[in-house]
Amino acid sequence: MDTLILGLCYGGIYALIALGYTMVYGIAKMLNFAHGDIIMAGAYAIFVVLSAQGHVILALLAAIVVCTALGLLSERLAYRPLRSASPLAVLITAIGVSYLLQSLAQIFFDSQKRPVTVLPPESVPMFGTTVSVASLWTLALCTVIMVVLTLFIKKTRVGCAMLAVSEDRGAAQLMGINVNFIIALTFAIGSALAAFASLFYLMQTSVVEPTLGAMPGIKAFTAAVIGGIGSIPGAMVGGILLGVIETFSSSSPALSPYTTAIEFGLLIVILLVRPVGLFGKKRREKV
């Protein structure tokens, strides 16, 4: 039971990150390799505010501002000029941005691990065991965020425009949708979700370091692929699935050293058996 709740927490975090990947992939058609490092930046923002005795809410706001700003900045400076370039070029640039953020974090905060306490380690009894307050917050907020995001995309005009751009960028442009704006907005939303993810991630791990974002980033991408890249419910399901698998695997002594290998193995199997993921749509290149 403990493991399951922990798994759901990690799952929620991965789902939030995976949403960022999947939205950017669906709309800008690029794998934003630097997404994980945006989380790292958010974590440092939280670290700074909390070290200055700031409130958690303030820390979260700071993280949102920092993440969104970085997301928009990287989109504007690095990705937008490459809109018509090959996917390979865009991907390499994204790797460059990822590296850049990591090295900047190293330069500003050095590469030491630093402890952060987001919430005091309190637990409440539940389901015949104890559950940490942090986990409860994580689960509750993740659920709320996902519901809000789904409603936003389904019900608002801007959400519709986003769907339109992801279907056919050219046609959307012809219909008077400002594609550049929509793509920038997508980056902003994805990065804001990453800010939440960084807070929840810190609640679980309580440490910041410059490479903090790399692993959850790649794992969340795995989650996005499992769910079907470009699919929002897919990202949620994939994230939760991956989180649960991860915690169960690492809580078993025999499997725990191979946890990463198992997750990546899962990614490979999914890609080979069903490349579009659980919820993905098949796309065909037009001849």
């Binding site: 850049l100 795995t222 050293p257 290998a261």
Partner: protein, 388 residues
């Protein structure tokens, strides 16, 4: 006259890389024999040697095949471990270290190539971003598995009691020469053209009868083989061999070399690999501690800038200006060649400026149709029968 000039140019471009590598190797040997070459410099040049191998082989996948592999360090890892196991065993049987290392190279390279085949076979039908992430995943899996095997030394790493002497740089540079030769020869053949055709347009390549899966696999396996070779060389100068060295950041370091040198440009890869490795070594040895982190800053900026430079529209004027200067310089240097190609570049440049829809050169088509259909018919018949 024109033909011989053409041939000369072709050859210089072709053999230039061999000359470059051979010259450096010769210089090093001379310095070594005369006792000037320090041990630390020899080690640096060994690193430069295998970095060249890594960069040139990754260029085969990224630059020529047009797929991004982020698992190159994983293949290197296989080479390092297998090479080390092989040499540890062989030293108990054979006395000559040269033979031991050569055999280890062969075994390590083949092992890495087998892994390349194993990984490539199912994954190469994936495209672009997916393939990149899968290669990354495989690289990490290889590393994780190595770390958790007792017979590979576990987390402590694999002990390598018989490190090769400082002459390893000779083997590294010879191996680099072989790598360059194989990949250059491959690229300048029908197989290489097929590989580049896949990069440029996979659908058209298929329609032209190019077996896309086969050639992707060929590129991938050859690249893995040489990454394995580089790993063996690495493993002969390091002890213990730790799987941590081969994380995906190392794959990205190799990618930086390829991008800096120019995708699809072998000479560029050689130079960039040498330069970055040298900078890396000096950064680590001379600027201690925190200065090392500037390395990743530099690498990141190189990646972003090089891609923007080559692809972003707003860079176009600057790029044209630099290229123009470069052509001027080349013309000034090689006047004879300039005279020969004088007619050509302005023509293409003029065509370049006009976006689309150029009237089909009226002279050519009307010219051809009546004339050749009478005069050239027999010749073309032969051509056709040869083609089919």
């Amino acid at each position: 006259m024109t033909v011989t000039a053409e041939k000369k140019k072709f050859r210089l471009k072709y053999y230039g890389n061999y000359l470059l590598l051979a010259a450096v190797l010769l210089l090093l040997i001379v310095l070594d024999v005369s006792g000037v070459l320090k041990r630390s410099s020899a080690l640096t040049f060994t690193r430069i040697g295998y970095s060249i191998i890594l960069a040139v082989s990754l260029n085969l996948v990224v630059g020529f095949l047009g797929e991004l592999s982020l698992g190159h360090a994983g293949f290197m890892c296989v080479g390092a471990y297998v090479g080390c196991l092989t040499s540890n065993y062989l030293y108990t049987v054979i006395d000559s270290p040269v033979i031991v290392v050569l055999l280890a190279l062969a075994v390590g390279g083949v092992a890495a190539a087998l892994f390349g085949l194993l990984i490539g076979l199912p994954t190469l039908r994936l495209k672009g971003d997916y393939l990149a992430i899968v290669t990354l995943a495989f690289g990490e899996i290889i590393r994780t598995v190595c770390r958790n095997q007792e017979f590979l030394g576990g987390a402590m790493g694999l002990d390598n009691p018989n490190k090769y002497g400082k002459e390893l740089y000779i083997i590294a540079f010879l191996a680099a020469l072989v790598t360059v030769a194989v990949i250059q020869n491959l690229m300048r053949s029908k197989h290489g053209r097929a590989i580049q055709a896949i990069r440029d347009n996979e659908i058209a390549a298929r329609a032209m009868g190019v077996n896309v899966t086969y050639y992707k696999l060929v590129g991938f396996v050859i690249a893995a083989f040489f990454a394995g070779i580089a790993g063996v060389i690495y493993g002969q100068q390091v002890s213990p061999i730790s799987s941590n060295a081969f994380d995906y950041n190392y794959s990205i370091d190799i990618l930086v070399m390829v991008v800096l040198g120019g995708m699809g440009n072998i000479t560029g890869s050689i130079i960039a690999a040498s330069l970055l490795t040298y900078i890396d070594v000096t950064l680590v040895s001379q600027l201690s501690g925190n200065a090392v982190m500037y390395k990743s800053l530099i690498y990141a900026l190189i990646l972003i800038f090089m891609i923007l430079w080559n692809n972003a529209p707003f860079m176009l004027p600057a790029r044209d200006w630099v290229r123009g200067k470069f052509t001027d310089l080349r013309r000034a240097l090689f006047r004879r060649r300039a005279a020969e190609s004088e007619g050509e570049p302005p023509a293409t440049a003029a065509w370049d400026k006009i976006p689309t829809k150029i009237p089909m050169d009226a002279l050519l088509s009307t010219d051809i149709v009546p004339e050749r259909s009478h005069g050239g018919e027999r010749k073309e018949d032969e051509n056709e029968s040869m083609g089919s």
